[in-house]
Amino acid sequence: MSVNYKELTINGLWKNNPGLVQLLGLCPLMGTSNSTVNALGLGIATLLVLACSNAAVSLIRHAVTPAIRLPVFVMIIAALTTCIELLMQAYTYQLYMILGVFIPLITTNCIILGRAEAFAAKNNVVSATYDGFIMGLGFALVLLVIGMVRELLGTGMLFANMQLLLGPLAADWQWVVFENYQGFLLAILPPGAFLVMGLLIALKNHIDDWVLARQPAVAPISTAADRRVRVTGVVE
């Protein structure tokens, strides 16, 4: 099977974005997007697990029979997540304490098993790793945007406490956007995650409509929608 890297990139970042279109892994997306540093921390951790698990699954795809592939995939994903968890504990201890249960929960993030099943199990190592990386990037970017919007609306600041992830150099990155901001609690609390997420999906669909309206001549490229259960975009 030949792999079109451009299409993989467009799929992961936009057309089939795990956060905005596939709506996979919503629990950590909602739970850790209350500040930029939390969102970035979990985004990077998820990206790493996703790229590594796709690589590992692709490597062993001929060795496992269909009957036991799911338990094997889950074992690989769980082991990788545990490794990331240990590494975060060792190098970014405070961030690990803040993200808490969401790190081990990466194991249960449906994007990861989803990509292992739908892509990595059928493709070679290089393209599977790339798919994992780009899907992870798509997820991390959505997480980051929601985190930044919520932090800005909620506290009037951006990039607070970045030193938890990036070391003491980032300690003075905190940027007070609005002086004397009273804070908008709703944005920090769980409802804020749903509202920002909804607005982001609406924005994406709006941009898609706008692009479509401007290019009526281009025939839509059909995508494989067989394994997608919940979608917000149009399934062609």
Partner: protein, 218 residues
Amino acid sequence: MTVESMPASIRKNAIVLGLFAAITVAIVALIQQGTANRIDTAREQAQLQALAEILPAGSYNNNLLDNSLQLDDPMLGNRNPEPAYLALLDGQPSAIILQATAPDGYSGSIRLLIGILTDGSLAGVRVLEHKETPGLGDKIETTKSGWIYSFNGKSLSNTTNEHWAVKKDRGEFDQFAGATITPRVVVKAVHKALQYFDANQEQLFAAAYAQNLPENQP
């Protein structure tokens, strides 16, 4: 059914699955071995940093984590025995950091670190863990407001028992708009910890001295 009579596919699957379990466990064990030391150091660093924030710089020169004892007293409100850290300056006790719990927070327990100097005044108080309402009760955190600093320098002698309360209860401490319960229970827990310290000061520092003995006077 014996192993031999199993269909070959089951046997093969079982072996492959077992092999993968062994490999993944081995990888995790390897990473754990490699990071164990760093994780311990990171945890200790984080603890030390939290403790060092409470005590004035230069008021001690021992490693606080080396001089600790487990305390279990109902006055501290902890569910389990928690460590207390003894600060020593040149081998002489200078302060103690107690862990206390306010069990009656607005939503669950509030765990506190309370630093008390030898003269019975508070060096500082910090919140270790809480589940208070974000935006209302969470002003007890230093990142949200400076309220917790209002304990600095307070003692049983400069603040009478009636004044260990929030202003609404005719005390000395501010409450927060929209959240009275949180500061009220924190004040109560700190007050009780001070009373505990007052009653047990000698035993606590005697323990510090006994612990420190082998190092200073071999």
